[in-house]
Symmetry: C2
Subunit: 134 residues, 2 copies
């Protein structure tokens, strides 16, 4: 794939280059080996906006953990309903780490444990997908 | 949440600010309203590295579609095995769009349809999660 301005822009979306400003050789090279940790929560009380907001605030706080290189928090989007789309979750967090060791550091971090202790009663189901970028 | 250098760095990971270099008021403000479209594929022939690589190449090509603001392609990471972690997928793509309309444009784009026509025989199951960032 030729390197053009658009590739470079995309390359910094999740890469360390975002912090250094270095131009990556390609989008893939900029981000390969990162861990994208995507967590989906189903609330115990789906009708409670207060519970949803408390969980959103809780997951947002996870961004304070030093090894977290990127964080996005979301709710189901109003994209087209299709058989393959699972829009049943209520809150989602996507975290980016430099490597598996950093993800483990996050997993065992006191702030992460505090989040589970404080917010764990809000959800009834959690599904996690961890991918390493290629 | 106070705005500090680290918040700003994180704020550009998925936001339009990454393209303009503008400093966002906060990480949330930089990215709220983006669509994160995360797709998980299960291969028909999980043991075939050729099939996996063909699918990886196929999904990577989707980044050429103009409305795609960010793309990451991955495979399961070697993070700790836990009950909540679904590591059964084989290939994953995460795309970022500015809004729901752009995601629909992508969905209907000839390059996306070509990808499905050329690679659809490779997978047996697809699960899609669309979140809007808050």
């Amino acid at each position: 794939m030729p390197v053009n301005r658009r590739d470079v822009v995309k390359g910094v979306t999740l890469g360390a280059a975002a912090m250094t400003g270095a131009a990556p050789a390609s989008a893939a090279a900029a981000t390969a080996g990162k861990i994208v940790h995507h967590v989906f929560f189903w609330l115990k009380n789906p009708g409670s906006a207060a519970d949803r907001d408390a969980l959103i605030a809780g997951v947002r706080g996870l961004g304070k953990i030093a090894v977290v290189r990127g964080i996005e928090v979301g709710v189901p989007a109003s994209t087209e309903a299709r058989d393959v789309v699972d829009a049943s979750f209520h809150v989602s967090e996507m975290l980016v780490f430099d490597n598996v060791a950093d993800q483990k550091t996050y997993q065992d971090h006191p702030l992460h444990k505090e989040f589970i202790a404080q917010c764990g009663h809000l959800w009834t189901k959690v599904v996690v997908y961890d991918m390493v970028t290629v």
